[in-house]
């Protein structure tokens, strides 16, 4: 043990003499862990929230009973089942308006609530009395309280009528939900004796034991779901995040790998001396691993703190995009679980071990005596390049194979990963080829040396250059995708938001009043009624949109393809346009036929067109509004659009606000809605952009640190040139040119690779993740800009080592020649 400590002390003394190398290693570990765990923290935060929400709604963690034919059923079923020994608990749920915001009101029965649901623990035994006894309590998450602009103890009205019990803040609740006693819910919702569903606690009973009729209702057993709807919907988003986290992790590991490789190389004589002085091979191996793991623990811990900071900084954006895209509510503050810390540390340690694997294997096989160099560097390099080339080719074949045969989101990401890896592996081969070509054309001693020396430098620089290549390619790829999306999205918004003013009335009565009022106005050119309902097709929710027959729609609807007489057939009522997502999911296209379960009987629809519906996780159908109301008579008709001449818009809005007390959410002009949509869109990609910037930064650091570590070992190569009369300044300029040249070649290679990545994202990953495909566009200005950024990053990274060289003391250079070294 004591011996091990001595050996460890000797190994650690290396870092004291090479602090820059230690810094590089730690930067790599910290960057890798921070980016990875930051993303994981965001994912975890989101998952926890979904689970909380799901457990609360009683949908996911417990089985439940519903009446498939009706929204609610009599609570007599509850009494009957309880008597028969079923551990059921009633829930009544509805969406309500509170202070102009739509929230979920949940009525529960705390005594019978199954223990598995989160809300049972939300109600403390002590609070039970206050919760059930008049006036009762309304439990609400602190975030929701803030959102609603209310304080604890307030008694807001729902839908501007019934008053809720006093609000009480309850931290572990999901945001966007109000919880009251079921009796209160029945009263304020005006649904006496009614319940939406029965939660089933842990029981030996199964679906088969259920009587055909329970208190007159035909109940259906819904099995518990391990995954929540919300989780499924947002999976793609999180997968995207995870992919970026993983990529950043890999870039960080590149740094770790190069730092460890270099340290190993430099410590080789020391390791041999240790062996000669009587340290056994086993002890040395163990101590080296212990050293590595200790450094990984240190780097991992700092990295975790960095990850926490990153996650906390990005959380508002992530929360906003999840809310915007999927309506998922995330609390605004980060709360992490112990697993996150453990997983982060484990990733750091495993990553460090993986990055050091080659060095560790070499150490284990280290011959005690330094053998004569079996190959000249050129031969060794040729073998290395050959191996890289073969691996690159294998990865490329794998990428193409997965592209052809794979058919899932995971396969999409696998294609991306294989493609990037293949390109990274091929990079040194390509660079070597370019440098060899340059060497062939070189005239004179110095240029010839320049090219040959650049080639010799490749192995030391290649990892950093690979990191640069990957970071740039991903930047180009994601940038191109976002820009393509942006361009398409704006055009699409123009098509979808064709009306000038949008109204959403609080209820049918108000909607009717507004319509009567609108009919009296002369400054309104058209009123376009709209209606929406939701059905299940193949087990997934699908929106049906009713659209009026009006030129506004005919001219602007973002159709991707359609039958010639599409609009006419839609308005005759037996045909529909479907969204791209639905078309892909159900394998429907123009000419297909679709059947919908409607209360007014089956509704058969011909598909006569497919339209773009970006960002909507649900499938959608557009049908004639009159046909929709015929088949779904209960559809609320509270929404409509208006065509108004631009000069009258402000007037109309002001008049409507005054007449009907409509707030900004209920009454909006097109420009505002568009701006809001673009804002949501931008925030969605802000996270990606931030991670992108981090990755590029890490690649820059990788370049800097490899150049710094390389600059020390470069002296023996440079000293002879200095000795034959080339000034240090001139040498520095040559070094600068050389590094910039290889960085430029790398960046130029990154551009086509990035476009390939973009294509993969748009044509493979996006289609699998979101169900729609963007038109692929190239943005030359963006490419140029990124090229510039890369060159500036390379320049900055090169500058420090170059300055060191230019200022080097002649004695340092002389030392290279001294025998006594």
């Amino acid at each position: 043990m004591k011996r091990a400590v001595w050996v460890l002390a000797v190994l650690l003394s290396h870092w004291r003499r090479h602090p820059m190398q230690l810094a590089t290693l730690l930067v790599g570990l910290i960057a890798a862990t921070a980016l990875w765990s930051g993303v994981q923290a965001l994912n975890q935060q989101a998952r926890v929230s979904y689970d909380r929400a799901a457990a609360l709604f009683g949908g996911a963690r417990t089985a439940m009973l519903i009446d498939p034919a009706h929204a609610t059923f009599s609570q007599a079923a509850f009494v009957a089942l309880r008597r028969a020994g079923w551990p059921v608990s009633p829930v009544l749920e509805d969406r309500v308006q509170v202070n102009g915001r739509s929230v979920r009101l949940l009525g529960i029965e705390p005594v019978t609530m199954p223990a598995e649901t989160a809300s049972s623990s939300a109600i403390d035994r002590n609070d039970l009395h206050a919760f059930v006894a008049p006036p009762g309590r309304t439990l609400v998450a602190p975030e929701a309280l803030r959102d609603l602009g209310l304080v604890a103890g307030a008694t807001p009205r729902i839908n501007d009528s019934a008053e809720l019990p006093p609000l009480q803040s309850q931290p572990q609740l999901a945001p966007g939900v109000l919880i009251v006693d079921i009796g209160v819910a029945q009263r304020v919702l005006g649904k006496p004796e009614q319940i939406s569903r029965l939660l089933v606690g842990k029981t030996a009973h199964g679906a088969g034991d259920l009587p055909d009729k329970v208190a007159g209702a035909t109940l259906q057993w819904v099995a518990p779901d391990s995954e929540t709807d919300l989780a499924r919907l947002t999976d793609s988003f999180h997968l995207n995040l995870t992919a970026f986290g993983l990529l950043s992790f890999l870039v960080g590991l590149f740094i770790v790998n190069s730092a460890i490789g270099l340290a190993f190389e430099q410590r080789l004589p020391t390791l041999r001396t240790l062996r000669a002085c009587g340290v056994s091979a086993r002890l040395l191996n163990v101590v080296v691993v212990v050293e590595l793991v200790s450094l990984a623990l240190l780097g991992g811990l700092i990295g975790l703190i960095g990850g926490y900071v990153i996650a906390a900084a990005l959380l508002p954006d992530v929360a906003a995009s999840l809310r915007g895209l999927y309506g998922a509510q995330l609390p605004g503050t980060l709360s992490l679980q112990p697993q996150w810390w453990l997983a982060g540390i484990a990733m750091s340690v495993l990553g460090a071990l993986a990055a050091a694997a080659a060095s560790l294997v070499r150490l284990a096989r280290l011959p005690l005596l330094a053998a004569a160099q079996p190959y000249a560097w050129q031969q060794a390099q040729r073998r290395w390049l050959l191996r890289q080339g073969v691996l690159a080719a294998a990865m490329l074949i794998a990428a193409v194979g997965i592209l052809i045969f794979g058919d899932s989101l995971l396969a999409g990401f696998a294609v991306l990963a294989a493609l990037l890896l293949s390109a990274a592996l091929a990079l040194p081969v390509l660079l070597d080829g370019v440098l060899r070509l340059g060497g062939k054309g070189a005239r004179g001693a110095l240029p010839a040396w320049f090219w040959a020396d650049s080639r010799q430098q490749l192995p030391g620089l290649s990892l950093a250059l690979m990191a640069l290549l990957l970071a740039l390619a991903v930047n180009v790829g994601v940038g191109t995708m976002v820009q393509s999306f942006s361009a398409t999205f704006v055009r699409w918004l123009d098509g979808r938001l064709a009306a000038d003013i949008y109204v959403s009335a609080a209820n049918e009565t108000q909607a009717a009043e507004i319509r009567r009022w609108l009919a009296t106005r002369t400054d309104i050119s058209a009123v376009l009624p709209g209606a929406r309902t939701e059905v299940q097709i193949d087990g997934a929710p699908v929106e049906i949109m009713g659209v009026a027959d009006h030129a506004t729609y005919r001219e602007n609807w973002p159709l991707l393809r359609s039958a010639a007489d599409g609009w006419d057939r839609v308005h005759r009522g037996a045909a529909a346009f479907i969204s791209e997502q639905l078309s892909r999911r159900l394998h429907l296209d123009v000419g297909s036929r679709l059947r919908i379960d409607a209360p007014g009987g089956d509704w058969s629809l011909d598909v006569v067109g497919v339209y773009a519906d970006y960002g909507n996780p649900k499938g959608q159908l557009a049908v004639n509004i009159d046909a929709l109301l015929r088949h779904f008579p209960d559809t609320p008709q509270t929404r409509f659009g208006m065509r108004v001449a631009p000069e009258h818009i402000a007037n109309v809005i002001a008049a409507m606000r005054a007449a009907f007390h409509l707030d900004a959410r209920q009454l909006a002009d097109q420009a505002t809605v568009k701006a809001e949509s673009k804002r949501i869109f931008n925030r969605t990609f802000a996270v990606t952009a931030a991670l992108n910037t981090f990755t590029l930064g890490v690649a820059g650091i990788a370049l800097l640190t490899s150049l710094l570590t390389l600059s020390g070992s470069r002296l023996p190569q440079l000293a002879p040139l200095w000795a034959i009369g080339i000034t240090r300044e001139r040498l520095a300029v040559i070094e600068l040119l050389k590094t910039m040249a290889v960085a430029l070649v790398t960046a130029l290679l990154a551009l086509p690779l990035g476009l390939l990545v973009a294509w993969c994202l748009i044509a493979v990953v996006n289609v699998k993740a979101f169900g729609w495909r963007l038109p692929f566009q190239v943005f030359p200005m963006q490419l140029l800009e990124l090229l510039g950024v890369a060159m500036v990053a390379a320049l900055l990274a090169t500058l420090l080592p170059i300055l060191k060289l230019a200022r080097m003391q002649p004695t340092t250079l002389i030392k290279i020649f001294a025998d006594e070294r």
Binding site: K2, W6, V10, R17, L274, C277, E820
Partner: protein, 217 residues
């Protein structure tokens, strides 16, 4: 104390087989200093490496006191090197990241045989006073080699093996270093087997062996 019995070693590569040692036998007694000479490539280093257990012989035996070095597993050979052998090489083999003081004490500490008084004496005799806080790269070649000698002797080994310890030094320094080694060996009572190709240096030791054609003469 050191006994080598018909030791042989050959290096095989795809192209050829080089028989470096073909049955070498020798003995070094306690307190005896022996010079090993021979042409470059005659196998002197190979012989030393085999004795130190740094490499494995094809045939024959090496005995150090009561221990048979040949046939010991790696851990056993490491323990033997640690506690009973001192090694000095042509290239000084110091740990660049450790100070002179740490380099000197290092092997003795590993072996658990750190003796402060003995180390102080060594430092004084090697003329390293005032240099102990420096790092190897801040020393001249002669000084570095003296540190290596100090490290090897600090454990009070039974046998000191030196492979051309003066190969990198000028003549005057070489004489001085060999004289130091000889005196310190006498002072500590260990045996010495030193490779050199200088007849002048070989003459400073008790006995001389010549390696040629894989055999001792």
């Amino acid at each position: 104390m050191l006994k080598v019995v018909s030791l042989s070693k050959s290096y095989r590569s795809a192209q050829e087989t080089v028989d470096v040692l073909r049955g070498v036998s020798l003995a070094v007694a306690r307190g005896e200093s022996v010079a090993l000479t021979g042409e470059s490539g005659s196998g002197k280093s190979t012989l030393l490496h085999l004795i130190a257990g740094l490499d494995e012989a094809d045939d024959g035996e090496v005995w150090l006191e009561d221990v048979r070095v040949t046939g010991l597993p790696d851990a056993g050979r490491a323990a033997l090197r640690r506690a009973r052998l001192g090694l000095i090489f042509q290239q000084f083999n110091l740990v660049p990241s450790l100070s002179v003081a740490d380099n000197l004490a290092f092997q003795a500490r590993l072996a658990g045989r750190h003796d402060a008084a003995w180390l102080r004496e060594l430092i004084a005799r090697l003329g390293l006073d005032g240099l102990t806080k420096r790092y190897p790269e801040q020393l001249s070649g002669g000084q570095q080699q003296r540190v290596a000698i100090g490290r090897a002797l600090a454990v009070k080994p039974a046998l000191l093996l030196a492979d051309e310890p003066t190969g990198n030094l000028d003549e005057a320094t070489a004489d001085e270093v060999v004289r130091l080694i000889r005196d310190l060996v006498a002072r500590s009572g260990c045996g010495l087997l030193m490779v050199t190709h200088s007849a002048r240096l070989a003459a400073m030791l008790d006995r001389r062996l010549h390696l040629s054609g894989g055999l001792l003469a």
